[in-house]
Amino acid sequence: MQCSKPRTAKKRIARRSRSGQTLIEAMFGFIILIPIGLAAVDVVTLMSATQTNEQWAETAARAAGSCTCESMASNMAKKSLTRFKPTNIISSVEMDKVKFDEVNGQVTVSTVMQVNMPIPMPLMNRFECRASAIQPLLATPAQQ
């Protein structure tokens, strides 16, 4: 009878420690999985914003392509970007530079987009995306 008490206690301790182990494993699992899930949301947002920036660069280049000189092309590209409506995620899209190449008959427009992450993380709460697009010059008179 004297020996049975310590044995029961040992069994109880063993059972307790096993169930605690599962809880701790689950907690550590969540600590790793939740940040990965949140980072995935940020990555998807960034990819979507990059795609949007490419489209704005295309639109700006197309607007610039119908002009006859560089200053007018730059002005038109800037005006085309005023159609953008800022959101909480994409705060701005601005023209970076215009290259008006009359020799090759094409215009290149670069845009810069400020992207705020929906789930801000340390050192990764704001990104600057750049895109450029080339369009043919449509307003250049044909060679005689």
Binding site: T59, N75, M76, R83
Partner: protein, 141 residues
């Protein structure tokens, strides 16, 4: 083992099926975006009278043909896409804007999410995009 049945029930009803529905909803949005892109490309190179015609290529022919494709068929549309075409010359160039509204049925209708768009009832979303009109004169033709 007695909790195995209820656990499976909760996992499927509140985790697996909603995730499947959200994936199907994303596919529906992607296919709607694809339809809008095709319509916009067409609207940018045809006269306004044709682009805004209810039986024209932008508002009828393209959505009809698109619904017969795999992309249109699998996306599970509840009704015909609704298209709106607008013109805007406020920023120097003439822009055409095409907005496409679709209603997508949930892939699996989950009874517990009654009235929740995308899970218990069809979800409606609009994709809108603009492009410079190829010939500015088309805006008045």
């Amino acid at each position: 083992m007695s909790e195995f049945g209820p656990a499976l029930f909760f996992i499927f009803i509140f985790a697996v099926f909603p995730v499947v529905d959200i994936i199907a909803l994303s596919f529906g949005y992607m296919s709607c975006s694809s339809l809008n892109d095709i319509q916009l490309r067409e609207a940018a190179k045809i006269p306004k009278s044709l682009a805004t015609n209810a039986k024209g290529p932008v508002m009828m022919t393209i959505p009809d043909k698109w619904m017969q494709t795999v992309l249109g068929g699998v996306s599970g549309l509840a009704e015909q896409p609704v298209t709106k075409v607008d013109y805007d010359a406020s920023t120097g160039n003439m822009y055409v804007t095409v907005s496409t509204t679709v209603k997508v049925r949930p892939f699996l209708t989950i009874p517990f999410f009654y009235k929740v768009p995308g899970l218990g009832e069809p979800a409606s979303f609009t994709v809108s995009n603009s492009r410079v009109l190829e010939n500015p004169m088309y805006a008045v033709q």
